[in-house]
Structure formats: structure tokens, C-alpha cells
Amino acid sequence: MSVLKSENLPPIIKDSFITGLITLILAIPIVGLPTINATEGLQIEPRWSVVIWMVLAVFLGRLVLNFWWHREQPSSSSTSPLNTPFLQSLQQLLKFIIPIGVLFALILPTMPFASRYVMDVAILVITYIMLGWGLNIVVGLAGLLDLGYVAFYAIGAYSYALLANYFDWSFWICLPLAGVFAAISGILLGFPVLRLRGDYLAIVTLGFGEIIRVILLNWYEFTGGPDGISGIPRPSFFGLEFKRSSEGTFSSFFGLDYSSMHRIIFLYYLILALALLTNFVTLRLRKLPVGRAWEALREDEIACRSLGINPTNTKLTAFAIGATFGGLAGSFFATRQGFISPESFTFIESAVILAIVVLGGMGSQIGVVLASVVLIGGTELFRELEEYRMLAFGALMVGIMVWKPRGLLAHREPTIRIETEGSS
């Protein structure tokens, strides 16, 4: 495979050399000559060794890339990534990956490495998976670009927090109510934007997300404004609370020693169940007329109209169902944090959720899982990079888009297949 033709060598070295030279020119002023605060004022303290290492790294990296690009290509017919054996093996692989992934998620809390930190990251990743799946209905299936999805997340979170604060209702009553409120707001958002598509729709949804955040921020008497809402009740396990007490708590009922991990593990299973519900419903809907109509609407709205499909209802159901899952996730977020404020629902959250959907491959359920593990889990891995963390996050996104322009898993399986004679 990696046999290299000798005539390719000079251009490769030349190309790598030029790349190194560009790095050198850029690195000297940017990296090589930093200013420091000295007693006599600003001074320049050259860092030539760093520059040399950078140039060497870029040169060698480019060399490796070039070798990779110039490796002997097998005959072009079999290199196409879309040929059937490749797809078939991918599908077989996916068949195994899905149950293994679900199983792994189920037994994760019992693993020896499942520390408090690992569980927290896992809960965070699954929350984003759920949000990604919810948004996937609107963006991936119905093709309605929504930049304000975090509004539904916020509505779910504040629904639970306010209902619990004002009426003292339990989490299990508020959870479905949060979903209903989010769905209603989804429909309210849906009505004015029914005629819009693409960029125009994106801008209106962006505005909607901001409106919700600004309302939460300014309606001080009701939402607490920038102070947020604290002391949100934690969920109970069939009425058993997670507290250090001898009466009526989870640990005393099951005769266990109290551990703060119990609640974390309970929350983990709660969000896992919610996420799996989202996935189950989405997969089911895709195979139903409403799901096919969403995808048809994404493909061609005029053709949909000519077939008698009511575009208004179809869009509104997509908005409502997508928003419901956002609301459920929001209500989970409120109960997990115990404190919410408008800070948590800024535009960047919508952008991250949208990035997960797009990077995963629009409409692909497993793509969303992969993308949120890579993006959210990966960002946690980069925590040691401190201030360069967001740089790594951005580089990761750019990298994925360069490597896979249509998302990690862009392949779409038909929702239904029939036996055809002769060919498969």
C-alpha cells in the first residue's frame, strides 16, 4: 500500500520545506518574540528554541501527511468509500457496536474506574447526546435549521425549578409538564417561522433563543433574574430521598451505608433512560408516516405540497417533538445542578448542540453519540490544556469537518426495504 514512487520524493520534500518556511515566518513574530513585564517596562525575551521545535514539528508533520497522500493508490474502482463491501462491513460493525455501547452504558457505574469525576462527565455527555437527538429531529430529519434550541432546554429547566419552588411539586410530576411546556413553546416558535427556510429560519430561531434568555434574565420577580434559582429539589427514588438520614432515605431503605455516589448513579441512570427514550421514539417516528414526511419536507417542500402533505402540521410536529426532548433534558439539568441561572442557556450552548448534530452527520443517531463523546468527552480530556482548551475544541471541529465534510456518519439507511428480484 505505502510503496512510494521515487519521482514523487523531490516535490514532497519541497512542499514540506515551504510549509516549514511559512511556519518560521509566522512563528518568529508571534511565538519567538514575546514581550514580558520587566522592572524597566516592556521587554522582549526571544524564545528561539520554541520556534525551532515548531518549525521542525510542522516540517515533519507535513512530510508524513505528504507520504500519506502520495502512497500508491490501489485501482480506483475499489477505493471508492461507497462501494458495497465497505458499507456492508460498516453496517455489520454498527450492528455490534450499538448493543455493546448500550451494555457498556448500563454497566458503567459498576466499573472500577467509575469515580465521581467519570460519572459526572458521563452524565454530561449523555445529556448532550439527548439534546443532540432532540435537535436531530428538527435539523437532521425535518431540515429546519434551529439556532435557538437551548431555549427549550431553558424552558424545561425553569419549568421544573419554578413549579418545584412555587408549588412544591415532585420531579416526576414536573418532568412531563416540562416536556409539555417546551412542546407548547416549540409550537409558538413554529407558527411565525412556517414560511421561512434555511438562513432566514436560522436567524429567527436565534432570536427566539435570545428572547427566552433575556426574559429569564429580566423578569426578576418571577425567575430571580441573574441570581438564578437555587435550592431546586433533587429527585427521589420512588419517594426515597438521597440524604444522610436514618428515616425514609434510599440508603436506609436498602440497608446500605450512605454514599454521595448513590445519587450520582441514580442521576446517571435517569438521564440514560431519558436519552434512550428519545432515541427509541425518534427511531420509531422515522419509520412512521410523520417521520417520512419530515424527511420529505427536508428534501423538497413543493413536492410535498403537491402530494397533499400539510407542511404546517408537519413542521409544527417536528418543532414540538424536538422541543419536548429539549425540555425533558432541561428539567433533568435543573434537578442535577440544583441551581440554574440564565448563564447556562447562552447561544454557545445552542451552537454546541448544533455542532454535535452536524459533526455527527445530519439525521444519524449514532453520529450524534460519536460526536458528543468526541466533542464533550474530548473537551474534558483537554482540561489539562487550560487556556488552550477551546482552541483544541475548535481544532477538533475543523478537523472532523475536513476529514468528513458530511459528518462522521453521513450514510442514511432507508427506513424500509423490500425484496427485489435479481439485484439486492
Binding site: 420509531r284 417520512r292 424527511e295 420529505a296 423538497d300 403537491s306 397533499g308 424500509i416
Partner: protein, 282 residues
């Protein structure tokens, strides 16, 4: 044979441009009615008015359905397809490219299936009544796949089909809505003579076996002259002639519209050849 469609005084203006000017005609059930005319004559605009995509400025579009009469000019586009059961295809093919051929045909049966799935609730639980209805829908899809010779491409994406197959798939998709009237906008465009001949027999089959009215816009005279029962000729938004293929072919106004006043004045060569060729052996 009764009238299926009556168009009275249809006028459609876009700003200062009158695309259709007081056109009246009727189309019958179990007949193929062709609308022909030079480019820009307003043929597709007539279709867009009939299917509710445009709201005409003046005029009455009546679709007769037994004792019922649907006033198409008052209905929204998707209601025209849903209630009056007028199906159409498009001049520039409009399929659902990323969906499979079979899925395209199931989307066409959306309203029926939506009802069967109890607006999704019954379907979500997986009740048998929905599953049975879906099996029937697949049966209807298979029937039209078989009629349009697309059976072996059923699981492929619509965008992967060659051009002629895409045109036939669009007809199959329109027929899956169980229409009372089928409007075809240049179905033979881009087809080779063999494909056009197959299209002819498909359209005749639809007319004779399914007993619906077919409204056809077409430039390919070999299709129009062979299968049409009735032809309406438009030019600059006006109806200039109407009648059987024989009458229309010899109508001086039609010849003038297609070939110009003087015979040596810029002839559109293909049209001229087609028209004369048809006349000589017709």
C-alpha cells in the same frame, strides 16, 4: 363521457405581465388532454393555477367529482392534492433525492397512512391496524414500481436513478396518491425515442385501466400527436386552437404560432420537422 375539469376565463397576471389571458377549456375523464404551445406560452402557469400553487386573478377552475364540485382556485395547494385529488409532476423533476424509491412512493400515500397511524399515536405503539395499512401501501407502491419498470431499483436512492427513470418515478409517485386527475409537466423531456414510446404506453395504460383524466404539457410531438385525445394550443397566454390532433395539426393559427408568419422566417427546426413529419405519415 362527462367533463372532469372545467376552466372558465382563467387569467393570471404577474405585475404587468399577463401570463394567461382569459383561457377557457375543459378536460374529460378517461381522456388525455394535451396543452401545447411555444416556450413561454403559459402552459406551466395553467398547471400551477390548477394545482393551487398560484391563485389566479380571474377565473373559475371546477373539478367535477360525481355530485361534488371542487373549486380549485379557492383551495390551498396541498388541499388540492388531498381533497380534490389532483396529482402533478414537475418540469424540473422534484423527487426526494436522499430517500429511497420505495420511500418516495410511501410519502405519496402520507394522508392515508397518517390516518391509519392514528396521527402517529397508534403507529408509535405499533398496532396491527397500522401495520396492515402499511403493508397495503407497500403493495400499491410495488404495483406502480412494476408498471414503471423500477422494481429492481426500489431500495436505491431516488438521486441514483438515471434521468428517464426519475421521470417515471415521479409519475409513479403521483399515481400513488390515487388521483382523479393527473397533470404531467413535460414527462418526455430528455427521454430517448424508446423511452418516449414506453411513456406513451404507460400513459395510455393509466388512462384506460385507471379511468382517470390526464392533463399533459409536452413539446415532444411524437408523444402528443400519438396519445392525445384532445389538444389545447396556447400562445402568449391565449388559447389559439383546440380540437383533435388532426384538427390542431392543420390549424393555420397553430402553424403560424409554431413556424412564424413566413415560411422562411426563423423556423424552429425540430418542431418544424416534427410537425411536418407527423402530417406526412399521419
Amino acid at each position: 363521457m362527462s367533463n372532469l375539469l372545467t376552466v372558465n376565463h382563467l387569467t393570471m397576471r404577474f405585475g404587468g405581465l399577463t401570463a394567461i389571458d382569459d383561457v377557457s377549456f375543459s378536460a374529460r375523464n378517461k381522456e388525455i388532454t394535451a396543452i401545447i404551445g411555444p416556450n413561454g406560452a403559459g402552459k406551466t402557469t395553467v398547471f400551477n393555477c390548477l394545482t393551487g400553487f398560484y391563485k389566479p386573478n380571474v377565473g373559475e377552475l371546477l373539478l367535477h367529482d360525481g355530485s361534488l364540485t371542487h373549486r380549485l382556485e379557492r383551495l390551498e395547494d396541498f388541499v388540492v392534492a388531498q381533497k380534490a385529488r389532483v396529482a402533478r409532476t414537475f418540469q424540473n423533476i422534484r423527487l426526494f433525492p436522499a430517500m429511497s424509491v420505495l420511500e418516495n412512493l410511501l410519502v405519496a400515500q402520507h394522508n392515508k397512512l397518517m390516518l391509519a397511524s392514528g396521527w402517529t399515536i397508534k403507529g408509535l405503539i405499533g398496532l396491527h391496524s397500522y401495520i396492515n395499512q402499511e403493508t397495503q401501501a407497500i403493495g400499491l407502491a410495488k404495483y406502480w414500481l412494476d408498471k414503471t419498470n423500477l422494481m429492481n431499483r426500489a431500495n436505491d436512492n431516488a438521486s441514483d436513478l438515471p434521468y428517464g427513470d426519475q421521470r417515471r418515478l415521479e409519475i409513479a409517485r403521483a399515481m400513488c396518491t390515487d388521483p382523479r386527475m393527473l397533470c404531467l409537466d413535460e414527462p418526455a423531456a430528455g427521454m430517448n425515442p424508446k423511452e418516449s414510446a414506453e411513456l406513451n404506453s404507460l400513459l395510455q395504460f393509466i388512462r384506460d385501466e385507471h379511468k382517470i383524466g390526464v392533463l399533459l404539457i409536452e413539446h415532444d410531438m411524437s408523444v402528443v400527436m400519438e396519445i392525445s385525445d384532445h389538444i389545447i394550443v396556447l400562445d402568449y397566454g391565449r388559447k389559439i386552437a383546440e380540437g383533435s390532433p388532426e384538427q390542431v395539426r392543420n390549424d393555420p393559427a397553430v402553424i403560424k404560432a409554431y413556424l412564424g408568419e413566413d415560411e422562411d422566417e426563423e423556423l424552429p427546426p425540430k418542431v418544424a420537422a416534427d410537425l411536418q413529419g407527423e402530417t406526412s405519415h399521419g
